[in-house]
Structure formats: structure tokens, C-alpha cells
């Protein structure tokens, strides 16, 4: 049972803090006593169980452009009030706001061991990056849902304070990717066969290990004239200049690299190698053209089979790389290629 009022500090961005829109996104962290903006409806939902003692407001632009500094300022402003719990957001589908809420959660939960509640749309990048550090309630995309989300936040706050076990099933949070061992009364094989039988009989069953959902990308219309097209080559096979200058990770890559092909007709083991940790690198290292076929493309260029080969290639390691990261790389690479007047790209894997 709740012994005393839960002391809560609330983190919000410049918009919800009433400071202003995008023009005020550089607003530096400031503190207000009591609740502000959406804190009003959260406080109403909390009733006597808790009190928002302070609100920290920071512009999304300032936070994301100075993430380490912002994290540390906001965390110390929050910690000063010795809260039992921190609420960050809700951020709905606002990407930078979601990242800020997640980063605040990371700093507060790690340094001060204070639980953090947030609420976001599942596609908010803050979810993927920081879901381990906060209890993130699932919301829709629009902030117009505030009235609906506030009571859920209040309920979760009480449950956390009362030390209830918080799970996605019981409290509507987004799975945090935390596994807990326990003894099931039936062994795995028996449970699996039960599930299979249910599936074969078109009966409902519940998987114990949901698979990630991948999106489907509709293909673009075909390139009308490859002979006149400027073509770029990209790979998720990890081909990088020798020494891997950008230190692209051998698995779960957090970045991609852009490297020049100017003046090159062939990739050799003297100057290129693979950074990929998910396949036997011997053959790719011996002849990197096996993954990034520059030699063949230069021949095709010479023979007029393609218009022109772009003088840069892009590479990352597609080994356990998160779909969200991959989508972000693709967006940024595609923008780059479009600016460079590229009509088509060849993407090779391993």
C-alpha cells in the first residue's frame, strides 16, 4: 500500500512547457515548482496518491544537440528534489522529444536508481534506444490523447511505488527486452507441442517468444535506361577501407561509412577488407570485389552497359543491426544519393 504521497518530478519539452514551438527548441533546461502543461492532467489523475513537486523543461533542439550536457543538467535538476519517481513526456510520436525523455530516463535510472515512466508511440526512436531504462506506456501518435494517457501514467506510478511487478501484459508498457528466468510447471517440449497442436487445429495460442515484425518496402518503378543511369553501389557486407577508419562494429552496427571509389577499378586486399563479423571473412578479405563488385561495374561502365558509376560507395555491417537503425541509415543515404543525382543503387549483402 502507498504509505505517503509519491514525490514526482516531471520532464517536458519546450512546447508542452508553454515556452514555444520549434522557434524555442534551443531553450535550455529550467525548473518550475509544481506541475506545468500536461502535468496538470497527470496531477488530476494522481489525486492524493502523488504530487508533482517540480517540472523540468528543456527544448528538444538543445537536448538533442548537446545530449551529454543536457542529460547531466536535467538529471541534477531532477535529483535535487529527491523524487520517488520521474515522469518524462508523454512524447507520443515526437522523435526528438522521445529521445530526450529516454536519455533522461537513462541518466536518472542509472545514476540515481529512481524509476522513470514515459509514454510514447511504439515507432518513436526513443523507444528502441531507451526502452530498458524506462517503463514506457504505449500511446497513439497524437498528443490529443493526453487525457487518455494521464490516468494510465497515474496508475503505473502507483503500481511502481507499491513495488508491484510491472510487465507488458499487466500494465500496458512496451516490452523492455528484459528476460527473467522462472520455473514453469510444464517443460518446454510439452508447451511447444501444445502450441503446435493448437496451431494445426486453428485454435488460438500465445507464443512465448514473439518475433520482430519487419516492414515491407514497395519496389520503386524500374530504371528506364540503365545505359544512361548514374548508378551507386552500397553494401551491408561490411567492406571498408583497410583498418576500418570509422570503426564500424562487426555486429549491431551503429553507423555506416561513405568511401571514395575515385580512380579505382578493382578492390584488393591491400586497401580494403570486411568489418563484418557474421560470416567467414577469408574470401571477402582476399578479394573484396566478391562483396562489393567494383571490378565488374567498372567493366560495365567502360562497355556502356551502365551510364556511370558513382564515385562513392556506402557500407555498413548488416549483422544483427536493428531494423530501426537500418531504416535511418537508408533514409540518410538515399537523401545523399538523390542530392548527387543518382538514378539507381545496387545493394549487395553477404
Amino acid at each position: 500500500m502507498t504509505q505517503h504521497k509519491i514525490r514526482i518530478v516531471h520532464y517536458i519539452n519546450q512546447f508542452f512547457g508553454g515556452i514555444g514551438g520549434e522557434d524555442k527548441a534551443d531553450f535550455r533546461p529550467e525548473e518550475r515548482l509544481g506541475f506545468v502543461g500536461p502535468g496538470q492532467v497527470i496531477q488530476a489523475s494522481l489525486g492524493d496518491t502523488g504530487e508533482i513537486v517540480a517540472t523540468i523543461i528543456c527544448g528538444d533542439g538543445f537536448f538533442n544537440e548537446n545530449i551529454e550536457e543536457a542529460k547531466s543538467i536535467v538529471a541534477s535538476l531532477i535529483a535535487k528534489h529527491k523524487p520517488d519517481l520521474v515522469i518524462a513526456g508523454p512524447a507520443f510520436n515526437a522523435g526528438r522529444y522521445g529521445v530526450a525523455c529516454g536519455a533522461v530516463a537513462e541518466a536518472i535510472s542509472e545514476k540515481h536508481a529512481i524509476p522513470v515512466i514515459s509514454a510514447m508511440h511504439p515507432e518513436n526512436p526513443g523507444v528502441e534506444l531507451y526502452k530498458r531504462h524506462a517503463y514506457i506506456l504505449e500511446t497513439g501518435k497524437s498528443a490529443a490523447e493526453m487525457r487518455k494517457v494521464a490516468p494510465q501514467i497515474a496508475k503505473l506510478a502507483k503500481a511502481i511505488f507499491d513495488k508491484e511487478e510491472i510487465t507488458p501484459e499487466t500494465h500496458g508498457i512496451i516490452p523492455r527486452g528484459i528476460r527473467k528466468n522462472y520455473f514453469h510447471k510444464e517443460r518446454g517440449a510439452k508447451r511447444a507441442v501444445k502450441m503446435l497442436k493448437a496451431k494445426l487445429a486453428y485454435q488460438p495460442f500465445k507464443t512465448e517468444y514473439p518475433m520482430p515484425v519487419f516492414d515491407r518496402v514497395a519496389p520503386n518503378p524500374p530504371v528506364l535506361s540503365v545505359r544512361n543511369a548514374k548508378i551507386a553501389i552500397l553494401t551491408s557486407g561490411g567492406i571498408v577501407p583497410k583498418g576500418n577508419p570509422d570503426r564500424i562494429e562487426s555486429s549491431s552496427a551503429s553507423k555506416y561509412g561513405k568511401y571514395t571509389l575515385a580512380g579505382l577499378t578493382d578492390l584488393t586486399s591491400d586497401s580494403f577488407e570486411t568489418a563484418h563479423g557474421g560470416y567467414d571473412p577469408v574470401y571477402a578479405n582476399a578479394d573484396p570485389d566478391r562483396v562489393l563488385p567494383l571490378d565488374v561495374l567498372r567493366e560495365m561502365e567502360k562497355n556502356g552497359e551502365i551510364g556511370e558509376l558513382h564515385n562513392y560507395y556506402y557500407a555498413t555491417v548488416g549483422n544483427g543491426t536493428s531494423v530501426n537503425n537500418a531504416i535511418n541509415y537508408a533514409k540518410s543515404i538515399a537523401r545523399d544519393l538523390k542530392n548527387d543525382g543518382i538514378q539507381a543503387a545496387i545493394l549487395t549483402s553477404t
Binding site: 508553454g18 500536461p38 496538470q40 498528443a143 490529443a144 493526453m146
Partner: protein
């Protein structure tokens, strides 16, 4: 509704009296128009602006609902084209729904 417009509406309501004010919306889309209507009647649903938790209950209409009160030539010049391309029924349904639920006047 952006923070600035919320502030203006609130100030006007305080100055003229909520019962003397009519808000006319020009939103091009049903959901956005509905949210704006909600903001000036029941309060800002996002709890961000100065109308957060403030139930002004104003009379609110979309310009498409006021066609018969506007000079035909002016209406035609200003919104005639948009009237042809937008989903008027959906917009009016959203706005009038908010009005009937929350408008006090």
C-alpha cells in the same frame, strides 16, 4: 492549435466575454479542425497551451458551415476552390460534434 493562437483566444475571451465570441475555423482537414474546436470549447487536449484545462465553451464553427452568412463573391474568392477539394462533410461533422458536446453558448 498552436500556443500563440491559444493565448490570443484566451485573451479575447477574457476581454469581450466568452458569450460574445465566435471562433471561425479554416482548417483543411477534419481531425485538425476537430482538435481546434475542442481546444476552444473543452480546452487544449494536448495540455500544452494556455487553454490547457480551460473550458471556454466558445461557439465554434468551420467557415464551411457559415456559407449562407458570407457574401457569395467573397466566399467564392476565399474558399470556393478549397470547398471543391476538401472533405467538407467530415470537417463539419468533427467541428459540430465538438460544438454540441462542449459549447456553452
Amino acid at each position: 492549435m498552436d500556443l500563440e493562437n491559444q493565448r490570443r483566444v484566451k485573451e479575447l475571451a477574457e476581454k469581450t466575454g466568452a458569450q460574445n465570441l465566435i471562433v471561425v475555423l479554416g482548417g483543411a482537414e477534419a481531425e485538425a479542425s476537430g482538435l481546434a474546436a475542442e481546444t476552444v470549447t473543452a480546452g487544449d487536449p494536448a495540455y500544452a497551451g494556455s487553454l490547457a484545462g480551460v473550458q471556454l465553451g466558445l461557439r465554434v464553427y468551420h467557415i464551411f458551415e457559415l456559407k449562407e452568412y458570407v457574401d457569395a463573391q467573397v466566399y467564392d474568392d476565399q474558399v470556393g476552390l478549397m470547398e471543391m477539394v476538401l472533405d467538407i462533410d467530415a470537417i463539419i461533422a468533427e467541428v459540430s460534434n465538438m460544438r454540441s458536446m462542449y459549447s456553452k453558448y
